[in-house]
């Protein structure tokens, strides 16, 4: 009887510890949590920047290109045979606060 009681207590303690541990992890600043309601990069603004003035070796330019690579790829893939695309037009007029229409 005593053994059963101890086992129950030990189990409860282990469960409690695990709950505390995982609740602590959930409280920490998880990038994935923020990604859900984060705004998309305004890649249309990047298209408007003067490409000749952008130093391709500058980490800032590289970071922007990396952020917008998916958008640019989507525009390429979405282009029809006539070179037009609803996909591309959607990005061009997209406000940064709107979620991307191209998330798969």
């Amino acid at each position: 009887m005593k053994t059963t009681c101890f086992r129950s207590l030990a189990g409860a303690a282990a469960l409690g510890s695990a709950a505390l541990l995982f609740s602590g992890i959930a409280v920490a600043h998880e990038p994935e949590k923020h990604a859900k309601d984060a705004e998309a990069p305004d890649c249309a603004a990047m298209m408007d920047m003067n490409a000749e003035e952008m130093d391709q070796d500058d980490p800032v330019v590289q970071a922007m290109m990396e952020q917008c690579r998916g958008h640019m790829d989507a525009m390429d893939h979405g282009s029809g045979s006539d070179g037009t695309s609803d996909h591309a037009e959607g990005h061009g007029g997209q406000e940064p606060s709107q979620p991307s229409q191209h998330e798969h």
Partner: protein
Amino acid sequence: MPIRKTLSCLRCLAATAAVVLLAGAAYVYLGLYPIGADVPHNAATYWLLETVRERAVARAARDISVPGDLEASARLLSGGADYNDMCAGCHLRPGENQSDFSLGLYPAPPDLTEAHDTHGDPASRDRRRFWIIKHGIKASGMPAWGPGHDDERIWSMVAFLDRLPDLTPQQYQIITARSTGSQH
């Protein structure tokens, strides 16, 4: 005779110290210090707190080694998103002059979009920033981010801060967006 004079002087000093201590204790316990954040410290208190802060941070951060890849674009993307989530409310974004936090906090949080950090050479400045982000500053509103963020993430924030004054609002928006748009 000189001994008497010395004893008299010591008594006088002890009495003065006792009076100063009592006056200080009375000032503290009677609640006379203007503790509200909308009333600035007097010059002496401000100097004391600032000196304590700067000397303590410089001493604590002096042996931190700075990673060699702070200029990598991946650092900017990781640090930028974290800066936008955790820091921009107080330390502002490019194109902003103030926020409720920057107006209301005392001491006022530094505007990190402006290149006015003159704390030594670039490596010392990076060490200082890393230490402050990781450990925070007592009674200043600056939290310690270390408990929830590993050193790599904090170094990425330091890397982002190095470039923040150069960024236009458009560049800032693109780099700091926690995008799902590139996951095609």
